[in-house]
């Protein structure tokens, strides 16, 4: 009789563990290697298949290579773009350290596009402005429209050079805590990895564990996210008593391919592309006359919904056009080659001669596992740290993006804070004793996985996943209100009930993706719940969280980050707390572009 799990359990002791091998995880691993810290990097994919590689447009840093720019301007844009919810000390770190991070990437070999004098070339991107909002600025450093691909490849190359130890296709299925869960003062002392190739569990013990697992876009039906983006790190932390922060702020990118949600990068608008409604009008002139198509993403996504509601979608339907024809064949083919190919293959449209139908697509989590500036995970609103646990990249909420992330700042975030994570973890590893061994750290998750794979009958995971994705799309999308969100909270609770009876068909121990997808569905349900509960409670509109029943921003009450904890024993989440936003340089103002 085969089983999805083998009996033997691996035991691996290291100093540091990195979960996830996208940009944040790889840069952290590189810093740890530089400090000689024995490190294990676990990824459920191969490193080069991480979703950092899908980022297209560029990475902003105020290099000033093609026109005047200053990190203070980048900081301001980030804060204003985030509708004043970003912590300003964090936004300052982001904007300042973007500059050395990009330079260091170039020195690692990243093939940036170049200016005529051989420097890193820069182009415009949404929400990035000169002199505190006067007009667009060229700040985005890029490698054609495959900047993320080149960042991922370059960091992986350097990790190979540095001899980083990878555990490829190890799916992290649990965190190990000593001395109680995170909300009871416990410390994170390792992870449990499931080796996909043979169904064995491995307990990894370490002094420091970094979550770098990315986001959870697969909770929505139309998404730009990879199948692998199922909120693993957020859900695992949540289950061990760590709160999730600002989960109601989820970004819908304005230009996804209709139906699939595959992203057409903002680079298309950075190079001068137009958004056009059924009347042939550049409708952004009614919403953001100064920045037009380079306004922040939340505003453009709302504008598209407004146009569609007013019957000005193309042919009265639920999409509008992205038009790059006027840029000419040369610019399109040289600066936007991948985007052009995406439109051709996935939409059957030729951007050189036709406008491309687009609609908003679920794209990026501004929220996540709360951390301080050193990437240490926080246990509460008072700033108490969860010892041993770190988070960086999309899984984390520092918060640098506030209520709405600017284009390219995801890459900036994972570079700056991935690096910081590695540096901080190396310090901790040098001053912390190795945790003692514990027997049976894998027992709880073994029981859960066995329950999934030995249930004789039950509902298929795909059915629940489909329902969840539709519910999140309809009720927790660009526009929200109390009724929609209330129904979402109830609907997710119902789906969680059904999930308790989910059944996996594949009972084997070799490469059991059926089992792992069912496990991932559990993570999606948790992150969706945290999102809906946080959104229900925030009775204001700010950034990407747009309540039609509370259309105004309410700084008196909500200039604060939401924290939400998981309910106990499977009960719905009801415990919330709020943490004041850190304001240093820029007083909140009305957000006009």
């Amino acid at each position: 009789m085969s089983s999805a799990l083998r009996a033997e359990v691996g035991q691996i002791d290291v100093d540091a563990i990195v979960v996830g091998a996208g940009g944040a995880g790889l840069w952290a691993a590189l810093e740890l290697a530089r400090e000689g810290i024995p490190t294990a990097v676990l990824t459920k994919l191969y490193p080069t298949r991480s979703h950092t590689g899908a980022a297209q447009g560029g990475v902003c840093a105020a290099l000033g290579n093609v026109e005047e720019d200053h990190w203070e301007w980048h900081m301001f844009d980030t804060i204003k773009g985030g509708d004043y919810l970003a912590d300003q000390d964090a936004a300052e770190v982001l904007a300042r350290e973007a500059i050395p991070a990009v330079i260091e990437l170039e020195r690692m070999g990243l093939p940036f596009n170049r200016t005529p004098d051989g420097k890193i070339d820069q182009r415009r991107f949404g929400g990035h402005t000169r002199n505190y909002g006067e007009g667009p600025v060229r700040r985005s450093c890029y490698a054609a429209d495959r900047t993320g691909h080149m960042i991922l490849q370059t960091l992986y190359q350097q990790c190979i050079k540095a001899g980083v130890k990878f555990y490829d296709e190890y799916h992290v299925v649990d965190l190990v805590f000593d001395g109680g869960e995170a909300d009871k003062g416990g410390r994170c002392s390792g992870v449990v990895g499931y080796k996909i190739a043979d169904g064995t569990l491995h307990v990894f013990r370490a002094k420091a564990v970094l979550l770098a697992t990315g986001g959870y876009g697969r909770a929505w039906r139309v998404t730009s996210n990879a199948h692998s983006l199922t909120g693993d790190g957020m859900a695992l932390a949540w289950r061990h008593g760590v709160p999730l922060q600002d989960m109601e702020f989820y970004q819908f990118h304005p230009t996804g391919i209709v139906g699939t949600g595959i992203l057409l990068s903002e680079a298309a608008r950075g190079e001068g592309g137009y958004l056009i409604n059924d009347a042939g009008q550049r409708f952004m002139e009614s919403y953001a006359p100064k920045l037009m198509e380079l306004a922040p993403r939340d505003m453009i996504s709302r504008a598209i919904y407004q146009e569609i509601r007013a019957g000005r979608g193309i042919g009265g339907k639920d999409y509008i056009h992205l038009d790059v024809r006027h840029l000419g064949r040369k610019v399109i083919e040289e600066k936007l080659p991948d985007i052009t190919e995406l439109a051709r293959i996935y939409q059957g449209v030729e951007p050189i001669s036709e406008p491309v139908p687009v609609q908003p697509t679920a794209h990026y989590a501004m929220g996540g596992v709360p951390t301080n500036l050193e990437t240490e995970v926080l246990a509460d609103a008072r700033g108490n740290v969860v010892p041993g646990l770190f988070a960086a990249g999309e899984v984390a909420c520092v918060s640098v993006h506030g209520a709405n992330r600017l284009g390219t700042n995801s890459l900036v975030d994972l570079l700056v804070f991935g690096k910081r994570a590695g540096i901080r973890m190396a310090q901790i590893c040098k001053s912390t004793p190795q945790p003692g061994s514990v027997q049976g750290a894998e027992r709880a998750v073994r029981d859960e996985l066995l329950a999934l794979s030995t249930r004789p009958s039950g509902v298929r995971p795909a059915e629940i996943r489909r329902e969840l994705a539709a519910l999140m799309m309809d009720n927790v999308g660009v526009y929200r209100d109390e009724a929609l969100l209330g129904a979402a909270v109830k609907g997710i609770a119902k789906l969680k009930g059904e999930y308790a009876n989910v059944r996996v068909e594949d009972t084997g121990s070799v490469f059991n993706t059926d089992l792992l997808e069912a496990r991932e569905l559990g993570y999606l349900l948790d992150t969706a719940e945290a999102t809906a509960v946080s959104a229900y409670a925030r009775t204001e509109s700010r950034g990407a969280h747009s309540r039609e029943d509370f259309p105004e921003r309410n700084d008196a009450k909500f200039l604060a980050h939401t924290l939400v904890w998981q309910g106990s024993d499977g009960a719905p989440a009801t415990k919330l707390d709020y943490k004041l936003v850190t304001i240093t340089k820029f007083e909140p103002k009305a957000r006009v572009y």
């Binding site: 085969s2 994919l45 191969y46 080069t48 298949r49 979703h51 590689g53 899908a54 050395p100 330079i103 170039e106 020195r107 690692m108 070999g109 093939p111 940036f112 596009n113 170049r114 005529p116 004098d117 051989g118 420097k119 890193i120 490698a143 054609a144 495959r146 691909h149 080149m150 490849q153 370059t154 190359q157 350097q158 190979i160 050079k161 490829d168 190739a197 990879a226 199948h227 692998s228 139906g259 699939t260 595959i262 991948d338 995406l342 293959i345 996935y346 939409q347 059957g348 298929r460 795909a462 996996v504 068909e505 594949d506 084997g508 121990s509 070799v510 490469f511 059991n512 993706t513 059926d514």
Partner: protein, 235 residues
């Protein structure tokens, strides 16, 4: 394909815990207009048989997880539209690598070869706090080979690789090329040494299978010939 609502999907199956040999499973799968082969595989798994096993992640051609042998050619399942393939679609694992299960092959050897060519920039530290200068022409020199996503479609389409599994293969040479022709790199000689051994570039027979297989449109054979010319030029 406009009127067709379903296709016959033949999937090569192999479960090492049950089967001694691979076998075929044929399913009739509903199709939607813009479907790609990955959509069909996903639907088959969701509707008919949860044990069908394949890798996938980004689902739009940038991660390289789902390179498969589809109707006799190595392609990315997420980039290949069903309507281009007719009514019967056969899907098998990439040829020449050990099968782990169903459509999943063991990639370790492939990545070992990639790592063997020292695929990383080697350069002396730079003074000051700015970037290195590289002209647009210098940057263009290796642009094509920066596109590789390590999907293995090229290497596993190569007859020289099938005949001689020790051959380092097109993907590894592409990644060596990316650094050999980068004006910033100082390690070209070492890579050329590695690639001039008996399992290096000389095994290429210029069949262009790799060029045809590459989902990123890299002119792989040209890159291999540039590397072999560079080796010859040293002699």
């Amino acid at each position: 394909m406009a009127s067709a609502t379903q296709v016959e999907l033949k999937i090569q199956r192999f479960d090492p815990e049950r089967d001694s040999e691979p076998h075929w499973q044929t399913l009739t799968v509903p199709v939607e207009p813009m479907d790609r082969v990955l959509d069909l595989l996903t639907r088959a798994k969701e509707l008919f048989d949860g044990s069908i096993t394949f890798r996938r992640s980004c689902a739009h051609g940038v991660c390289g997880s789902d390179a498969l042998l589809i109707n006799g050619r190595n392609r990315l399942a997420c980039k290949l539209r069903v309507e281009a393939l007719g009514r019967t679609i056969t899907v098998a694992p990439l040829p020449g690598l050990p099968i782990v299960k169903d459509l999943v092959v063991d990639m370790e050897e492939f990545f070992d070869k990639f790592r063997s060519v020292q695929p990383y920039l080697v350069a002396a530290p730079v003074e000051g706090d700015g970037e290195r200068i590289q002209s647009e022409e210098q940057r263009d020199r290796y642009d094509d080979t920066t596109k590789c996503i390590l999907c293995a479609a090229c290497t596993t389409s190569c007859p020289s690789f099938w005949a001689q599994p020790e051959y380092v293969g097109p993907a590894a040479i592409v990644n060596a090329h990316r650094f050999i022709f980068d004006s910033r790199d100082e390690n070209a000689d070492t890579r050329l040494d590695i690639l001039s051994d008996e399992n290096g570039v000389w095994r290429c027979r210029t069949t262009f299978n790799c060029v045809e297989a590459c989902p990123r449109g890299i002119n792989i054979t040209k890159a291999i010939l540039e590397v072999s010319s560079a080796i010859s030029a040293r002699r």
